[in-house]
């Protein structure tokens, strides 16, 4: 099941979704076995911003019958901490490293990209655009013009593949994807979490420390499939599909919808090695359905 994404050769098409697997923490917990049995074909790190961020106050989690609402709020050591502490450890992983970055202004995004532009440890960059541009107030990844302007500015800063992680909370996601493609994105990834909310069952106040949160897991699977399908029809560049993947069949659906890679997110929480099982199931299904996949 080897596959290629923007010239990167991968052993299979299953990677992790940003922010749903901390390989450094997992190595402390699971030791060498994590590396020996590393479940992802590439590793995507959690979103890094320029400045350190604490993230949202707890509680940060709300479970639903078919998913999770999180208001983690992108805690990060910031660029400097990441470069100094995390990157050396992540560089030891047995798979290519994709660094996910986010900035609140185009200048910030530029600075982040420049910082990784020539890092040999880093194979590709993923740009999280699900946050507002603090200068315009518009969510960068929800508005085609906003995103074009951003990418035209930052795309020239690196030769590495630049994956744009789209926001699913947009009127016309394929239009945003097309704008990304025209402005030089190497690939797009989707979906990020859907905006969601939970109230305290007794008090009725918002449960999550951040007020609202992002929905992930099986609940979003069919929404993800629709968006991946529509985006894959709209662009020529590769698509990384994610959202509620729990089984090989879910991964197969995203590949059939046009994705080149599939990312596993929330399911990692239910089983740290879920991606290995999903990859095995996918491989079995590939065998069974080769005609449709060639």
């Amino acid at each position: 099941m080897t596959v290629e994404l923007c010239g990167i050769a991968l052993e299979h098409p299953v990677i992790n979704a940003s922010g749903t697997f901390d390989a450094i923490a997992a190595r402390r917990v699971f030791g060498a076995e994590l590396i020996e049995r590393f479940p992802f074909a590439a590793f995507v790190s959690k979103t890094v911003t320029l400045a350190p961020r604490q993230g949202n106050p707890p509680p940060r989690l709300w479970e639903t019958g078919s998913g999770l609402i999180n208001s983690i709020g992108l805690p990060t050591k910031g660029l400097e901490g990441y470069l100094g502490e995390d990157l050396p450890e992540l560089a030891e992983l047995p798979v290519p490293l994709i660094v996910n970055v986010m900035g609140f202004t185009p200048a910030e995004v530029g600075e982040l990209i420049r910082a990784f532009a020539d890092r040999p440890e880093v194979t590709a960059l993923e740009l999280n655009v699900s946050c507002p541009n603090v200068e315009t107030g518009l969510v960068m990844g929800a508005d085609p013009r906003e995103l074009s302007a951003l990418l035209e500015r930052v795309r020239p800063l690196t030769d590495k593949p630049l994956i744009v992680k789209l926001s699913p909370n947009a009127t016309d996601v394929p239009a945003v994807a097309r704008a990304a493609e025209r402005a030089g994105a190497s690939a797009v990834s989707l979906i990020n979490t859907l905006r969601g909310m939970a109230l305290h069952p007794r008090s009725g106040a918002p449960w999550l420390g951040g007020g609202g949160g992002g929905v992930s897991g099986p609940a979003v699977r069919s929404v993800a499939l629709a968006q991946v399908y529509a985006v894959a029809e709209a662009v020529e560049i590769p698509v990384i599909g994610m959202g509620g993947v729990q089984r090989g069949q879910d991964a197969l659906d995203l590949l059939r919808a046009g994705a080149t890679l599939v990312a596993v997110g929330t399911e990692n929480f239910r089983d740290p090695a879920a991606a290995s099982r999903i990859t095995a199931e996918l491989s079995a299904l590939h065998g069974n359905s080769a005609p449709e996949l060639t």
Partner: protein, 301 residues
């Protein structure tokens, strides 16, 4: 060494006392800390027994594939079937449970559950022969008492679980103090040896809270005691406040909502004086002096 980890502490007992030279770092995420690694991935184990102890359920399983846990460590549990559903209902994510008991000589793991919601209710349905998914052992576990101090175990409700295994592993400790809501719940006190019990309603043992007993027990021995506490947030906060007042070191086994248990989600953070830390990774045992308060948002029922 009067209070080192018993031989049963696990295959890789830490050279613990030295770690205590700088107490603030004792529970900190030193990347170099020697941990017993958990097997990667969740594994299915067989439930071998289920017993009721007062208002709580003891669930025993046979963990052939895993290492022995340290006292204070926890596992993420989920039933192998019907987890993620039932009329589209929770539980969906696994749940965290402290080890109650894990004798070194076999592969047994005991957990003590209080039925407070859909996850604990589902686990409470399991019977010998049913299958359970486990990930673990996870978290840091208790550190042995600082030199010249003896362990005083203080627990409340289902929070007695990690104290039982800690009592098993400690060579020596003073009489444990346990608090319960009422007599029915206090029936679980037998899981810890020779404990003194307080109940909120006076239906068994001392009529009042466990910190009453704690003040009596400590009085005049402030420099000889290290407290190990686990229980509901209000109790832990009372313990923390007493220990702070009396300048007694305390290790608190805390709880927070967890999605993963292995540092992946950043969901289980608790506020410490030095900022938010992931409880599943840097805890669940934290030195009390790292906390402003043990009353954490989103915990308790």
């Amino acid at each position: 060494m009067s209070a080192g980890p018993a031989a049963s502490a696990g295959p890789a007992p830490r050279a613990a006392p030295t770690a205590h030279a700088a107490p603030a770092a004792s529970a900190a995420p030193a990347a170099s800390a020697v941990r017993t690694p958990a097997p990667f991935g969740r594994r299915a184990v067989a439930v071998t027994a289920r017993e009721r102890h007062g208002a709580y359920t003891l669930l025993r399983c046979e963990d052939a594939g895993g290492p022995r846990p340290r006292a204070g460590q926890f596992y993420m549990l989920s039933a192998a079937e019907r987890w993620g559903g039932g009329d589209g209902e929770r539980p969906f994510l696994p749940r965290a449970f402290s080890v109650l008991r894990a004798p070194a000589e076999d592969r047994r793991l005991d957990f003590l559950l209080e039925d407070v919601g859909p996850g604990t209710r589902r686990l409470d349905e399991l019977r010998p022969g049913d299958r359970l998914h486990v990930v673990g052992p996870l978290g840091n576990g208790f550190e042995p008492p600082r030199e010249r101090r003896r362990a005083l175990l203080v627990g409340g409700g289902v929070g007695i679980a990690p104290l039982a295994i800690w009592q098993d592993q400690l060579e020596d400790s003073t009489r444990p103090l346990l608090g319960f809501r009422d007599r029915a719940r206090a029936a679980a006190a037998g899981l810890v040896s020779s404990a003194r019990v307080a109940t909120d309603d006076g239906s068994f043992g001392h009529h009042g809270v466990v910190t009453d007993l704690m003040r009596q027990e400590i009085a005049g021995r402030e420099s000889e005691i290290e407290v190990y506490a686990c229980g509901p947030p209000a109790m832990l906060e009372a313990v923390r406040a007493v220990c702070a007042e009396l300048a007694i070191p305390a290790q608190l086994a805390l709880e927070a909502g967890m999605a993963c248990g292995f540092g992946a989600c950043f969901g289980c953070v608790v506020p410490t004086r030095a900022g938010l830390v992931r409880l599943c990774l840097d805890g669940p045992v934290l030195d009390a002096d790292r906390l402003e308060s043990a009353l954490l948002p989103g915990t308790g029922h």
